[in-house]
C-alpha cells in the first residue's frame, strides 16, 4: 500500500479537529494591502506624467528595495516570507511618494531599507511596528540629508519664463515669503486652488494631486478599509485651525489652501489610516486624527519646517497604545442592568 492510500484510509475515519468557528471570511491581509496599493496608483501615475522619469525611478527604487530588504531579512532570520504580501510595497511606494522627485535614488533605497528593516522587521514585522515604516524612513533621511530632502524640482511658475523659475513648494513660499507672494506666484487665488486640486504644482512626488488622492481615498472608504471619519476629522482639524490662526489675525487664514497643500491629502487618506499604527476603536481613531491635524498645523504655522504631516503622524503613532488603552469599547452589560 502506498503512502497516499494509507493517508486516505485514516482520513476516512478521522476528521480535522479545531476550535470553532469553522468558517472564515475570504478577506486576507495580502488582499487588503494590494487594494491600498491600487488606491495609490492614480496619484503615482500622475507623478510620472507631471515630474517625469525621475519620479518613476524613485518609486521603483523605493518599492524594489523595500520588498527586497524585507525578503532578505526574513530569509536571513529564517522567518516565513511575507515580503510579497503588498505591505512592503506600500511602504516603498509611500516613502518615494512623500519625498522630492529629484532626491537621488540611492537615498530612496536607503530610506526603504531603514523603513522595512529598522522600523518594521526589527520590531517583529507587520502588526508589531509602532511607527509607520515609511515615515521612519522619511524622517531618517530628513536628518541625514536635510538639504537634498528639501531640494525640489525647478518649475516655471504661472507667468512663465526662465526668470520666474522657482524651486519651492507652495508651503515653502508661504513660510519664507508670505501669503501674498504665494498668490503672486500662481497668478490668482483661484489659479492657486485649481493647481493644487489638479496637482500641477511643486512638492513631494506623490502628494500634489488632491483630486487623485481623494479618488484613491474614496475607493478605500467604499471598500471598508478606511473609516471615513479619520481622514475627514484630520482634514477638518487642519482647516479649522488654519482658518482661525490666519496671518492677519484670528479667522483670516486660508483653510482651502492648507488642506490641499503639502502632504495632508496623502497623509490623511493613506497614512493616518494605516491600520497597524493607529488606534483600533473609532473613538481612539478620532482622537488620533484630531491630534495629527493639530500637530500638523502647529508645525506648519509655528515650527521650523514648512510641512508637518510626517512628524505629526509619527508623534501620534507613539501615543497610539496609550489611546487604545483608554478607548476600549463599552462591554455589553457593563454598569449593571439597563433597560
Amino acid at each position: 500500500m502506498n503512502e497516499e492510500a494509507v493517508k486516505q484510509e485514516t482520513a476516512d475515519e478521522l476528521f480535522t479537529v479545531s476550535v470553532s468557528p469553522h468558517i472564515r471570511d475570504d478577506e486576507t491581509i495580502s488582499h487588503i494591502m494590494w487594494q491600498v496599493n491600487a488606491a495609490l496608483l492614480p496619484a503615482a501615475l500622475f507623478a510620472v506624467w507631471w515630474f517625469g522619469v525621475p519620479a518613476l525611478i524613485n518609486m521603483l527604487v523605493g518599492v524594489i528595495f523595500a520588498v527586497l530588504g524585507e525578503y532578505l531579512w526574513q530569509k536571513g532570520m529564517h522567518q516565513p516570507i511575507t515580503a510579497f504580501d503588498g505591505s512592503a510595497c506600500i511602504t516603498g511606494l509611500l516613502l518615494a511618494m512623500s519625498m522630492s522627485p529629484v532626491l537621488p535614488p540611492y537615498m530612496v533605497a536607503i530610506g526603504s531599507l531603514l523603513a522595512v528593516i529598522v522600523a518594521k522587521q526589527s520590531m517583529g514585522g507587520l502588526g508589531f511596528n509602532i511607527f509607520n515604516p515609511a515615515h521612519i524612513g522619511r524622517a531618517a533621511l530628513m536628518v541625514s540629508w536635510p538639504v537634498a530632502m528639501t531640494t525640489w524640482t525647478k518649475m516655471a511658475d504661472a507667468s512663465g519664463g526662465v526668470d520666474a523659475m522657482t524651486s519651492a513648494t507652495p508651503l515653502n513660499i508661504l513660510k519664507m515669503q508670505g501669503y501674498d507672494a504665494l498668490i503672486a506666484t500662481f497668478g490668482s487665488q483661484s489659479d492657486l486652488y485649481w493647481n493644487l486640486f489638479i496637482g500641477t504644482r511643486n512638492g513631494s512626488l506623490g502628494e500634489t494631486s488632491t483630486l487623485l488622492l481623494l479618488l484613491g481615498g474614496l475607493y478605500l472608504i467604499w471598500k471598508g478599509y478606511v473609516n471615513w471619519q479619520v481622514p475627514v476629522t484630520m482634514i477638518a482639524t487642519v482647516a479649522l485651525l488654519t482658518w482661525i490662526f490666519g496671518p492677519a489675525g484670528l479667522f483670516t487664514g486660508d483653510p482651502v489652501f492648507h488642506v490641499m497643500a503639502g502632504g495632508l491629502m496623502l497623509g490623511a487618506f493613506f497614512m493616518a489610516t494605516d491600520m497597524v499604527t493607529i488606534p483600533m476603536t473609532i473613538k481612539g481613531q478620532l482622537i488620533f486624527a484630531v491630534g495629527a491635524g493639530a500637530l500638523t498645523v502647529l508645525i506648519r504655522l509655528v515650527g521650523g519646517y514648512p510641512e508637518g504631516v510626517c512628524y505629526s503622524l509619527l508623534l501620534m503613532n507613539a501615543v497610539t497604545p496609550l489611546i487604545d488603552r483608554f478607548c476600549k469599547p463599552r462591554i455589553f452589560g457593563a454598569g449593571g442592568a439597563k433597560s
Binding site: 480535522t16 470553532s20 468557528p21 469553522h22 516565513p80 502588526g127 452589560g333 442592568a337 433597560s339
Partner: protein, 459 residues
C-alpha cells in the same frame, strides 16, 4: 422594526441546502448509544444495567445533583453495554448502549393525555423535570431550573432566530409544527405569569414568520421579525433587541426579568406536559457540502452520526470537518461514532474548500474584530495577551470572562488568527486557577479546624 445590537457579521448562510426539505422520520438504527452527560451540570448515573430490558421513555439515568436532567431510553430493547463511548462535547462519556428490539414500545402508561390548562404549576414543572428537557438550541441548560427563576420575570422570549449558518431544524419545526410551539408557549406563559411573550425570528425566514403568525393568531403571543445578523440568536442579543434590556455583566436573563427558550425546547415541553413524553427524539439538520442529500430528520437520541449520515446518502465528497452543531459555534468531531444528543441541532460535514484558510499571521490591528464583537470586547488584544500567557491582564483589563465565544472576531480576522481558541485557553487557565485557589483555601480551613480540635482535646 427592532433596533439592532452592536457588532455581528453576515456569513453566507448555506441554509439553501436543507431549508426546503420537510422533516423526515429517520428509522431507528440497530444500536443506540445514550450518553449520561447531555446537559449542563452533573452527568447522570445509569439506573439500568447490562442485560436489562427497557421500553421507550423509561428512565435510564439520573443524578442526585440539583443541576441535571434525567435521561430516558429512546427505544425499546435490551441494554447490551454500559461503557465509555465517544461524546461530541466531552471527548468520551459513560453511555448506555441499547440494542433496538424493533418493537418500539412505549413504557407503561405512555403516551397519556392531560389538559395542561387545569394543571397546577408544580405539576407542570414536575412534568418538565421528569421528561428530562434541556435547552435544545445547543446550550442544554436543564429547562425545569430555568423555568423556576428566583427573580420575578415579566417577558418570555422564544428563540426562533436560528442564526447559525446551515442549520434549518428550527425553521422546519416552525413551518410544520407551529401549533405545538404555541401550545408549549402558552404552557410557559401560565407557568411564569409573564406580561409579554415574543417569538423572535430572523427576517431571512419569511415563511417561518408567516407560519408562526398564523399559529399565534388569537393569542397574545407576538411574532417579531428580526434583522438577519449573526449572532441574533445569542440569548443576550435577543433580549436586548426584543426588550431593550441589557443583561448585566456576569448576570442572567432573569436579572432583567426575562426568560428565553428555544422553539424546539418549547415544542418538547408541549409533548412532555400534554402527553407525558420524555425527551427521546429531536429535529436535527444533517447538512453541509459533503453530504449527498441534506435532510432535516426527526431522530432518536443516541443515533450515531454515521447512521444519520448514511441515511442521507453518505458523503459525496470527503469532508475535512465533521461538526456537531453549526459552523460558528459547533464542535469539530474526530469520529462519526459520536451519538446525537438532546442538544444536537445539526450534523455538519464540510469539505476542505469550506473550512481551509491560510496560515495564522500576526495581528495587524485592523480593528475588524472590535467592530464585529457583539459584547464590546477587544478580541485582538485578548488573543495577543493570551498568546503571551498574560491571562490575568485578559481578565482584569479586557473583560475576558464576558466573551460568549460566538466566533465573529475569528470569522472576520484577515490574519486568520484563532482568536476564540486563544480566549478559550485563557478562560480555561483562569478557571483552573480559581478552582485551585478555592481548594487551597478549603484545605487551609480544614487544617486550621483540625488544629483547633486537637488543641481542644489537649486541654
Amino acid at each position: 422594526m427592532f433596533e439592532s445590537f452592536l457588532g455581528g457579521i453576515h456569513p453566507k448562510d448555506g441554509k439553501e441546502l436543507a431549508k426546503d426539505k420537510p422533516i423526515e422520520d429517520m428509522p431507528v438504527p440497530q444500536e443506540l448509544v445514550v450518553p449520561m452527560g447531555q446537559h449542563i451540570g452533573a452527568p447522570c448515573t445509569p439506573t439500568v444495567k447490562a442485560g436489562d430490558e427497557v421500553k421507550r421513555g423509561q428512565l435510564i439515568g439520573t443524578s442526585p445533583a440539583f443541576m441535571h436532567a434525567d435521561i430516558h431510553a429512546p427505544v425499546s430493547g435490551k441494554v447490551v453495554k454500559i461503557e465509555q463511548r465517544p461524546h461530541s462535547g466531552m471527548g468520551s462519556c459513560m453511555a448506555v448502549v441499547i440494542q433496538n428490539d424493533g418493537k418500539d414500545e412505549w413504557a407503561d402508561g405512555l403516551p397519556l393525555t392531560r389538559n395542561w390548562q387545569v394543571m397546577e404549576n408544580e405539576e407542570i414543572l414536575a412534568a418538565i423535570q421528569s421528561a428530562g428537557i434541556v435547552g435544545m438550541g445547543g446550550a442544554t441548560f436543564p429547562a425545569h431550573i430555568k423555568l423556576k427563576p428566583s427573580k420575578p420575570v415579566d417577558i418570555l422570549i422564544l428563540n426562533g432566530a436560528e442564526c447559525e449558518p446551515y442549520l434549518t431544524a428550527d425553521y422546519r419545526l416552525m413551518l410544520e409544527h407551529g401549533e405545538k410551539i404555541i401550545t408549549g408557549t402558552q404552557i410557559l406563559q401560565k407557568l411564569l405569569g409573564v406580561k409579554r411573550t415574543v417569538i423572535g425570528i430572523e427576517d431571512n425566514k419569511p415563511e417561518a414568520i408567516k407560519a408562526m403568525e398564523q399559529a399565534a393568531n388569537g393569542t397574545n403571543i407576538e411574532v417579531a421579525a428580526l434583522k438577519t445578523k449573526y449572532p441574533q440568536g445569542a440569548e443576550k442579543m435577543l433580549i436586548k433587541v426584543i426588550s431593550g434590556r441589557e443583561v448585566p455583566m456576569g448576570g442572567l436573563p432573569m436579572d432583567v426579568g426575562a426568560v428565553v427558550q428555544n422553539v424546539g425546547t418549547v415544542a418538547a415541553i408541549a409533548d412532555a406536559v400534554e402527553h407525558g413524553l420524555p425527551l427521546t427524539e429531536r429535529i436535527t439538520t444533517v447538512t453541509g457540502d459533503a453530504i449527498k442529500e441534506p435532510k432535516n430528520l426527526r431522530i432518536r437520541i443516541g443515533t450515531p452520526y454515521q447512521a444519520a449520515i448514511d441515511y442521507c446518502g453518505g458523503f459525496k465528497q470527503q469532508p475535512k470537518k465533521l461538526i456537531a452543531g453549526g459552523p460558528m459555534m459547533g464542535m469539530a468531531q474526530a469520529t462519526a461514532e459520536v451519538p446525537v444528543m438532546k442538544g444536537s441541532s445539526g450534523i455538519l460535514a464540510l469539505t476542505a474548500e469550506k473550512v481551509d484558510h491560510g496560515p495564522e499571521m500576526n495581528c495587524i490591528r485592523c480593528g475588524k474584530c472590535v467592530k464585529a464583537c457583539p459584547m464590546g470586547l477587544v478580541p485582538s488584544m485578548l488573543s495577543i495577551l493570551s498568546e503571551r500567557q498574560a491571562f490575568e491582564a485578559c481578565r482584569d483589563e479586557y473583560g475576558l470572562m464576558n466573551c460568549v465565544e460566538c466566533g465573529c472576531c475569528t470569522f472576520v480576522c484577515p490574519a486568520k488568527r484563532n482568536i476564540v481558541q486563544y480566549i478559550k485557553n485563557a478562560k480555561g487557565v483562569i478557571r483552573a486557577e480559581q478552582m485551585k485557589a478555592k481548594a487551597a483555601a478549603e484545605a487551609k480551613k480544614k487544617a486550621q479546624e483540625a488544629a483547633e480540635a486537637k488543641r481542644e482535646a489537649e486541654k
